[in-house]
């Protein structure tokens, strides 16, 4: 919002009453609302907010990193920028201005990212954005080899212990890499500029699409493929297969072992896009 009217209103309020000091829910002594007789002082306290956890019957686990200019990115120079455009102090309300390349931060790859006539974000079937969540841990082999891949054998081992991956799942690789975010060890580039971190093998993705009809995959690294990949098999399998891939997922440890976890891909409907910034939330049933 930005209009001469509101700026005028707020300036007038500040002129007559000074800059408002809002504590968290200690509300609004400002003109319009106070004049309307709103009993702001009796608003619920932060204690109310804690009580609201679990209102839906689900625990919420945030699988997203903060999106900002200092994130590790696959291609240096593609970091987003943000600046204050309007501020509460000067303009009455706060708006930032951003520039961004789509494939940075916690985000998704959709088919159009690698396939010329592939499906775009804006019209992708939303039914596939809420999915059963599966997390396969390869931290042990990732500790031994940074470019380790989640292979078909890892899927088979997971299924042997946990049962068959349900149709329409999102299968996450948990390599332990999220704990390196946002340091240089996350991108982990060597002297030649080659990045080194785990990813999916193309075979594993193809196997999941063929045999388990998954909705998507996810990784806790900068790329669906391992950092040193030059063939991008996982990207081609995902985009060619018509599914999506989550990159830079966070907090996957909290999902491991959770039965009945639903993952929701909160990607704005970026027009004409092959992917973009996304909130990834998991809802864990009791």
């Amino acid at each position: 919002m930005c209009s001469p009217e509101i700026a005028k209103v707020v300036s007038a309020r500040i002129a007559s009453e000074g800059l408002p000091k809002f504590t968290r829910r200690n509300l609004l002594k400002m003109g319009g609302s106070a004049a309307a007789g709103l009993a702001f002082a009796s608003f619920a306290s932060p204690a109310r907010r804690a009580a609201a956890h679990g209102d839906t019957g689900f625990e919420v686990v945030d699988l997203s990193h903060v999106f900002g200019p200092n994130m590790p990115v696959y291609t240096l120079g593609e970091e987003p920028t943000r600046e204050t455009y309007l501020s509460v102090e000067e303009n009455g309300y706060f708006i930032q201005y951003w520039t961004l390349y789509e494939h940075v931060g916690t985000h998704c790859d959709f088919p159009a990212h690698f396939v010329a006539d592939g499906e775009t974000v804006d019209n992708y079937d939303a039914a596939h954005l809420a999915s059963r969540a599966v997390v396969i841990n390869i931290a042990e082999k990732a500790a031994a080899d940074p470019n380790a891949m989640l292979e078909v054998a890892d899927i088979e081992a997971w299924e042997a212990a946990n049962g068959e991956i349900p149709e329409g799942a999102v299968v996450f690789m948990n390599s332990g890499w999220a704990s390196r975010w946002p340091t240089d060890d996350y991108r982990n580039a060597d002297a030649d500029g080659v990045q080194n971190y785990p990813g999916f093998s193309g075979e594993a993705v193809a196997w999941l699409i063929e045999n388990r009809a998954i909705n998507g995959i996810g990784v806790d690294t900068l790329s669906l493929d391992p950092g040193n990949s030059t063939t991008f098999d996982a990207h081609y399998a995902v985009c060619g297969g018509g599914i999506y891939g989550v990159e830079n997922a966070a907090n996957l440890d909290a999902l491991e072992g959770a039965a009945n976890a639903i993952v929701v891909i909160g990607i704005p409907r970026w027009e004409g896009s092959g992917g973009g910034p996304t909130r990834v939330l998991a809802l864990i049933g009791s």
Copy 2:
């Protein structure tokens, strides 16, 4: 959808490794996956994708408009821009470059939008991003008065018919305005530039925070307040109250009457932000 794209990708790889120019990432030798023997041709058919609906036990309803340069915006000139930065044809993969002001399109207002030390998006408690959904329809009075407000009386009438609004809900105003998107009738400005569309009254928001401990509100218009507001009571009540507000929600008709609807606020963790582009998805239980 998979097979034609897959075939194209594979044949492109087989045809010539020099065809795509991966100038930016300087990568991508084609042929990796094909050489690895992936059975792309046998990937699941579109029938698989339809079957995936309801995998979670929930129907997904998309409450979001497409986010792009031609959207109606509150303040003219704050439309986002997008341009192709890399393309599959020229570079091997597709990325767009965006500029955007935060408060346009289907998006959320968080406390910092109007409150100098208010909570920002990036660290807002994610537990409040999944909520029970309530939709209150005021289309009849909005048809008579474009600046109609959802008032306490409308909440009382809704509760008389449906029972008490649960704690931690998001309460949506359905004014019927979404059907005007994206035409000029959505912003509905008069000759003096005054916008005209429905919104919440400040009293109604304050009542909901005090008495029902809501997580947020939502509107199917450009602003939480009616278009002709000069005092922005609903904005102050939302931001001062520590809750959030969804603007430009779509498709609320599909939620009306749905018991057990959960609304998920898919807002990327925009750093330091008072709001920004958001995917709003509803999960409707059976």
